[in-house]
Amino acid sequence: MADLSIEFAGIKAPNPFWLASAPPTDKAYNVVRAFQAGWGGVVWKTLGEDPAAVNVSSRYSAHYGANREVMGINNIELITDRSLEINLREITQVKKDWPDRALIVSLMVPCVEESWKAILPLVEATGADGIELNFGCPHGMPERGMGAAVGQVPEYVEQVTRWCKTYCSLPVIVKLTPNITDIRQSARAAQRGGADAVSLINTINSITSVDLERMIALPIVGQASTHGGYCGSAVKPIALNMVAEIARDPATQGLPISGIGGIGSWRDAAEFMALGCGAVQVCTAAMLHGFRIVEDMKDGLSRWMDSQGYQRIEDFAGRAVGHTTDWKYLDINYQVIAKIDQAACIGCGRCHIACEDTSHQAIANQKLADGSHRYEVVDAECVGCNLCQITCPVEDCIEMVAQDTGKPFLDWLHDPRNPYREAV
């Protein structure tokens, strides 16, 4: 079996599956249960200065799919609402009891040097393996000048990171907020400040839904609501892109990345790793199903690695980065055409109406004598957009087949149709 153990930014863990800083890592009871279940590490829910934060009720709301499966969760919970002393004591004990697991402490204090200088030695004394700087919390804390309010300003990110490196010898992971326009600026700032790694993404500003009877958004607190932070499988595509942006940025080349955002299965984790992550963090999936999911994630990942001949995570981590590029470098001459497997087709007509109404009129609808339909791709009209394959309910029924156009590779920079093409 593949070896899932990792060393991430100098932190060792028996497997790359860590629980993200969030309610599941709020206190010793939960963390011990997580370690018992087999998690490789945890990022302890964010510590702050006393007096501890106070939370409201209710706190979460969800965006649902057609079968009431949760696509994403929105939360308005703040950082730990327990005292610093209790948290530090529990962290010390848990690390002592579980020495082989990664135990990272998430931190958020005001953006002044004294605050960081005061808390860092206390954390280091617990025996924790590293710290994670919560520059991402998008709700509540930014109103007090912390969380995303720091993470959205690269200069602050750099400054606070530097303080941490100055007053603490532990590895520093900077957690980035996605509520910005260019994630690379935040990552570069963290690196300039001396960060050992970045982790991303934190949650995304969100409102999931509105109670149309009461005319209040969710989650409801009394007679009002507020925006929260969005997480869960719905944010995975956004997170993957941000991870890839940093991984392929020459300025941050080699900066370790801990991937976060909608990871619920081994495949999700493998995808984050393929785009450059050396470890991953999970929260929503555990909140929906419990800690037991790590067992399936470890099993699935190691079996897949075996099937691919990968012995360690680093054997494939980052392998998809080189294949992620700017639009202008894509091959203009590449052409795929949809092909419908008639034996697998169940005749729902979704590909036809999607193409007919909203795309290129490239799927013909032929009514047969028995009242059923036959859907055929009109090759000459198909631009290979993938929409039919996306709308088809049957997996593998529609294949996008690469065509032999006989034309050489040509990117937009060199395309004669590009008025601003580079001189050959």
Partner: protein
């Protein structure tokens, strides 16, 4: 009506117990089940289920409405295509119609979406402030509808909707036709046919006159004189005969006669029970008869058919219901002789075994006897020609015994339309009759308004 069985005993169970055997055969979906099931619909385009529905209900749309918490919208969508959508949801053989066509009936998709039960869910849970359809301003036109079965009611509703005034002439004491008198009790529970009728009549402009029978106290000629158009939804009132001696003996009767009595019975324990019985036939009526007798407590119910299982008119689903109720299916046997006891009452039947010789059904020469307290004929219904006996009615062109109609349900006589089982168009199904009534009403409306414009 069933004097023929007055010598038989009654069920041993009391009425509440028996009534519990006649509750919903297919229980309604809960809200949760409706949500799960409606999510399975793929919202097909040019959907096969719609093409398979004789009444052209926009099934993907109403299911999507259910799933999006718009039950009223779903119900209106159904009712605008099929005003008897509630009874069709219960009695349609969906297994050979919409659910047969459902793309999720494909082998790889596990099972079809439960369209019939979802349709029932929408109609059971929709709450309207008054009738959902508004009548058009009065046209001043009057239309006679003969027969208050599904075809006639559907026709009357659509006509009233268009602003015409309708008088329905009905021979029976209650409207509803087979929904009231002919469908198995466990398929239409809680007096559903009458509730649906009340709802349908809410539109206004429809009068029903009972005890009016064409060819008896009513003639087509009179109706043509008194009304601007006439729709005939006569159904198939005659039960086919075996053509054997002693067919009138006590203990031998048409299954439809017994079912009618059962459907109207307030006290099921007062019905005659044939502990050993034979049902002749292979259609859904034969199954309904056999299963209902089994549920009344009969121990030995034999359904006998002269051909093979694959030739049966009853769907596989119906056959399964029969087997689940311990009904024995005997095939390749045809009635040869009614066996009587000393009092002249049925004691059984002798059958000749049959087989196919060069594609033709022949007896093998072998016979066997089955003991029975009663024999129920369910070998098909025929058109009762006596309805068409007046001078005008006899001029109607016929296809065999039934009334000939064109695609717009027009008969050979101007201003006279027909639909449902009394015609040969389409399948003999409630949903087909509803569609006929609807299409005939549209044709009547178009024809009447044409004359208005011309005048």
């Amino acid at each position: 009506m069933i004097n023929s069985l007055s010598h038989l005993p009654h069920p041993s169970a009391d009425n509440p117990t028996l009534a519990s055997h006649f509750t919903d055969l297919a229980p309604p979906l809960t809200a949760r089940q409706a949500m799960v099931e409606s999510a399975r619909c793929l919202y097909c385009y040019d959907a096969p289920c719609v093409n398979a529905c004789p009444s052209e209900i926009d099934i993907p749309s109403f299911i999507r409405n259910i799933h999006q918490d718009n039950v009223q919208g779903a119900a209106v969508k159904i009712l605008s295509a099929n005003i008897l959508g509630g009874s069709c949801a219960r009695v349609c053989p969906t297994e050979v119609l919409c659910q047969q066509a459902c793309v999720r009936n494909n082998q790889q998709e596990c099972a079809p979406v439960l369209i019939g039960l979802l349709q029932r869910y929408a109609l059971d849970h929709a709450e309207f402030n008054g009738h959902p359809f508004q009548r058009a301003p009065s046209t001043g036109k009057r239309v006679a509808v003969v027969g208050a079965g599904p075809a006639g009611l559907s026709c009357a509703h659509r006509l009233a909707w268009h602003g015409h005034d309708v008088v329905i002439f009905e021979a029976q004491a209650k409207a509803g036709g087979l929904n009231e008198y002919g469908i198995a009790k466990y398929k239409l529970v809680d007096d559903f046919a009458q509730h649906e009728l009340d709802f349908l009549l809410e539109i206004g402009g429809i009068e029903i006159r009972h005890g009016q029978k064409l060819g008896d106290n009513l003639s087509l000629g009179e109706l043509q004189q008194q009304f601007d158009a006439v729709f005939l939804g006569l159904g198939l009132a005659a039960s086919r005969q075996l053509g054997l001696p002693d067919e009138q003996a006590p203990g031998l009767l048409a299954a439809t006669d017994y079912i009618r009595e059962l459907r109207q019975a307030d006290d099921l324990s007062a019905l005659p029970l044939a502990d050993h019985c034979i049902v002749l036939g292979a259609g859904n009526t034969a199954i309904d008869m056999a299963v209902q007798m089994a549920r009344l407590g009969a121990h030995d119910v034999n359904l006998v058919y002269r051909r093979g299982v694959e030739d049966m008119g009853a769907t596989a689903h119906e056959q399964h219901i029969a087997k689940e109720n311990q009904v024995r299916l005997l095939t390749w046997a045809q009635p040869e002789q009614v066996l009587l006891d000393e009092q002249g009452q049925v004691r059984g039947m002798r059958f000749a075994r049959t087989h196919l010789v060069e594609g033709r059904l022949q007896t093998t020469g072998e016979t066997f006897e089955l003991a029975a307290d009663a024999i129920f004929k369910a070998i098909g219904q025929g058109f009762d020609g006596s309805a068409l006996s007046d001078a005008q009615a006899t001029q109607l062109a016929r296809d065999g015994e039934r009334i000939r109609v064109d695609e717009q349900l027009r008969t050979s006589l101007p201003g006279v339309y027909a639909g449902g089982d009394c015609t040969h168009a389409g399948q003999d199904l409630t949903v087909q009759a509803v569609q006929h009534g609807k299409l005939a009403a549209e044709a009547i409306h178009a024809d009447l308004m044409l004359t208005v414009e011309a005048a």
